[in-house]
């Protein structure tokens, strides 16, 4: 048992449902007790979905507990087949069905005999995998099922398209800014003269899957979703894949160069160097933006980054390499894939934190006292409490992270968006400077709100006045550091001298 207040990644069935509801005409039936269909609320709320979420529950109640589901699951599958006429029904186990150990595979077999749609049992174990891993597995399972089915029927399309083409794999429902990223990637592919063969799973029909092998390569923009599918497609169908997340100017360039290499190996003879240079220097504003003098103020500012593997790693790279920000701590909650993360951020931050416990992250932030945080909704709340600005860069997310305006994180437009996010998170450069000179917006401001507001130390009038001159957003830190300095030396009265001594000693 684990005492838990909050979690970063959801339970396994959420991952399966995200895949099912991303495809067109795929219906998921959860084998679950009443109230477990909360996914529908999330999708309808967060994505403001206009259509009914294609997820229903075959309810596990007291009778099921006593006698087993018997015909119930089968009946529900057949009923849904008649009502909605989906292409595929995915029977989704939950934590409850995991321990009931009913033979769901058998129900699927039996239901199949009476349905027009295909029926699959999602191969996920609640106690072994989380939302992200489950999504990964289910996507691969669906793709594999339809490719093998097409292979048996002989209508699989393996002949490569005449022009270079790509499958973009991993765009999904409830994914962080996935809809916008999908559009941005399509635009990038068009710019590079690459045809988009399919986007999977978002908006795809299962019938399209059989033409996946006709693409020249697969693009996997996110670390968490699509890699298993890409690996399968490589092993079985010899398709190469590119798994560099095009997030940030440098990584976008690296991704495009890798695409170039993959295409040229198949005889495309393309050269994207001019495109990269042109985009970097003239089209995307991010590079010029971080070079402009206003952004000098970002130099060496302390930041903490936390999120899923993809976004936390990419963000760490952007902050350190492209903006000169000092990333004190980079962390991820993707414990199952920790090695990849550590390797990605190696040398780019002082410390790496891999944990699923938000209190550990919150404590680390409180200790570091960074000038800005880039994290999930959870870090945003921690930041609010500590009065530190925060930009949200990763799921778990709330409704405000599903903007209706165009906000990709990937590609060249994504790098513009990220530059804005970073810049707006730190206090504006010139404002920062002026505040420091003139001692804050309002010198009459009282000293409250900081964590150590109630202190046993005695501040002299002069020292207090001096403290008031320090801009609000660093004042708390200066106060704490000074007090810490004083306590360590057994000083009880803080005078101007003590303040300056502390500043010198701690560099604060």
């Amino acid at each position: 048992m684990k005492l838990a207040y909050w979690m970063y990644a959801g339970p396994a069935h959420i991952g399966t449902l995200r895949i099912a509801s991303s495809f067109k005409r795929v219906h998921a039936i959860m084998h679950a007790p009443l109230g477990d269909d909360y996914f529908n609320v999330m999708r309808s709320m967060l994505e403001r979905e206009k259509n009914f979420t294609p997820v229903t529950a075959s309810i596990v109640d007291r009778n099921v507990l006593a006698r087993g589901s018997q015909e119930k699951v089968v009946d529900n599958i057949i009923r849904k087949d008649k009502e909605e006429k989906p292409d595929l029904i995915i029977l989704t186990p939950t934590c409850t069905s995991s321990i009931l150990q009913e033979d769901l595979a058998n129900f699927v077999e039996r239901a199949r005999l009476n349905t027009d749609s295909d029926v699959l049992l999602a191969d996920v174990n609640h106690y072994r995998v989380n939302e992200l891993q489950a999504a990964e597995r289910t996507l691969k399972q669906v793709v594999q099922f339809y490719l093998e089915k097409a292979e048996r029927k002989g209508d699989i399309v393996t002949e490569k398209t005449p022009n270079p083409s790509v499958n973009i794999i991993g765009i999904s429902t409830l994914g962080f800014h996935n809809q916008h990223d999908g559009r941005e990637l399509q635009k990038l592919m068009t710019d590079l003269g690459i045809t988009v063969n399919s986007i999977v799973p978002q908006g795809a029909s299962v019938h399209e899957l059989k033409k996946m092998p006709s693409a020249w390569f697969n693009l996997i923009p996110y670390r968490e979703l699509g890699l298993a599918t890409a690996t399968y497609l490589q092993e079985k169908w010899g398709m190469p894949y590119v798994d560099i997340t095009p997030m940030g100017v440098l990584e976008t360039a690296r991704c495009i160069r890798k695409i170039q290499e993959v295409l040229n190996q198949q005889g495309a003879n393309v050269n994207y160097e001019d495109y990269i240079t042109h985009q970097t220097l003239n089209v995307s504003q991010a590079v010029w933006f971080s070079r402009s003098i206003d952004c000098q103020n970002l130099t060496g500012k302390k930041a903490v980054v936390f999120g899923d593997n993809t976004h936390a790693a990419a963000m760490t790279k952007i902050l350190t390499r492209e903006m000169g920000v000092h990333v004190v701590l980079a962390g991820t909650y993707c414990k199952y894939d920790r090695d990849w993360f550590c390797q990605q951020v190696e040398g780019l931050c002082d410390r790496v934190l891999v944990t699923e416990d938000y209190t550990e992250v919150a404590d680390a932030i409180a200790e570091i006292e960074p000038e800005a945080i880039f994290g999930t909704q959870m870090e945003r709340h921690v930041a609010k409490r500590l009065n530190i600005p925060c930009g949200v860069i990763s799921a778990p997310i709330h409704i405000q992270n599903f903007p209706i305006g165009y906000r990709p994180f990937l590609g060249y437009e994504g790098s513009n968006q990220i530059a804005d996010l970073v810049y707006n998170s730190f206090t504006l450069g010139m404002e920062d400077h002026l505040l420091e000179i003139f001692g804050g917006h309002d010198t009459k401001e009282v000293l409250t709100k900081s964590i150590s507001a109630q202190s046993d130390l005695n501040w002299s009038e002069e020292a207090l006045r001096e403290l008031e001159k320090i801009p609000g957003f660093v004042r708390g830190r200066v106060k704490r550091n000074t007090e810490k300095f004083a306590r360590e030396r057994g000083i009880t009265r803080i005078t101007l001298e003590v303040m300056y001594a502390a500043k010198e000693a701690l560099g604060a």
Binding site: M1, K2, L3, A4, Y5, W6, M7, G10, P11, H13, I14, A32, P33, L34, G35, D36, D37, Y38, N40, V41, M42, S44, M45, R48, E49, K50, N51, F52, T53, T56, A57, S58, I59, V60, D61, R62, L65, N76, E83, T94, C95, T96, I99, L100, H126, Y127, R128, N130, M378, H381, H398
Partner: protein, 461 residues
Amino acid sequence: MTYISEKNIDDAINFQCDTGNYHTFCPISCVAWLYQKIEDSFFLVIGTKTCGYFLQNAMGVMIFAEPRYAMAELEEGDISAQLNDYNELKRICEQIKRDRNPSVIVWIGTCTTEIIKMDLEGIAPKLEQEIGIPIVVARANGLDYAFTQGEDTVLAAMVNRCPRESEIKQEKRHNPLLQLLNFGKKPEEADSQYHPHPPLVLFGSVPDPVVTNLTLELKKQGIRVDGWLPAKRYTELPVIDEGYYVVGVNPFLSRTATTLMRRRKCKLINAPFPIGPDGTRAWIEKICGVFGIQPRGLEEREAQSWASVQDYIDLVKGKTVFFMGDNLLEISLARFLTRCGMRVLEIGIPYMDKRYQKAELELLVRTCEEMGVPVPPIVEKPDNYSQIQRIKQLKPDLVITGMAHANPLEARGINTKWSVEFTFAQIHGFTNARDILELVTRPLRRNARLLELGWTSLVQE
């Protein structure tokens, strides 16, 4: 008032029971309002990631305000009994005691603890002895209950923790300090404004302003409220003993009522619920009736209440409403909206206790007769899919439904009101009638403004 027997209710109302494939909140959601109500409590939900994920998402921002609830998240070792339940719970409860030091820890049993048959009721008394904090066990799981019924299971468990008169007397004898504290109070004097009547305890968790409000309404009739279940603090649970009268304020508290009657030998006053001016008046009248008190000024009070919401009534009059059903407040709300002049097309409800809700059902029938509208069918354990087919056919002016269906229905040009808001808003008593109508009319008011734009249906079908 004409008396309608249970059989007559069956004749007057068309009760149906469907497949139970409907959307509602898991009953563990009750921790969200109960931990706020019972200020010195800590709620520990013993379940899986699924439960935690639901709570975290359903409670939205509340989770970040240092909540007094948490998950004891079961891992594979717990499921396969490789770990010892007692030791695991002990470790976690000791940590809670250390960090929060609550007056009570409420264990919420979930589907998983039911299936693996974790003996929470057996472990609790032992652990309670060992750590010195009361542990109350409530099985609020999705196998048996829906949404608000979670509160019912918690309160039913709390009944057994309410002190008896004999215990209090004994405590007084042994605790001179308590006598000292009561010294100076002159109970006889305070009593003079009340009619002599046996002790009355109200049950149901409502926000404190509602507690004050309903207590004062009864005081106006000379009726003293001797206690509320739950009280503001666990340490202030009311005395409940044989012969006490009890009355519920919410329609989903049938287990609590049963427990009070069977375990504590209390007398249940079966009344409609104080939701809407009509319900509030009927509730007070019924209590007065049981105590043989002639109610004073209630008719004027009700008329005054109706007059103050006339602007809203003009908006809803003649409109049709469809309850998909998910929180058990449906009968009371339908009865109130019928009185407001709306026509109710269907009352979906998760579970229908015809005995506990008897007076409410009778009032519904009477209200329909008086307003000259047919009594709507009551659909227990509804099937959301069939309901949506009916909604498409009937085109109601308003659908009261869960969030899973609200946006899709709006996109199809159907006005919806999110049902969960009724459980969190203050809807009891004369003064809160306006709040109910504020909720009901909001989509009508909003959509009336957008109507002239002509974009009612936003999907292609």
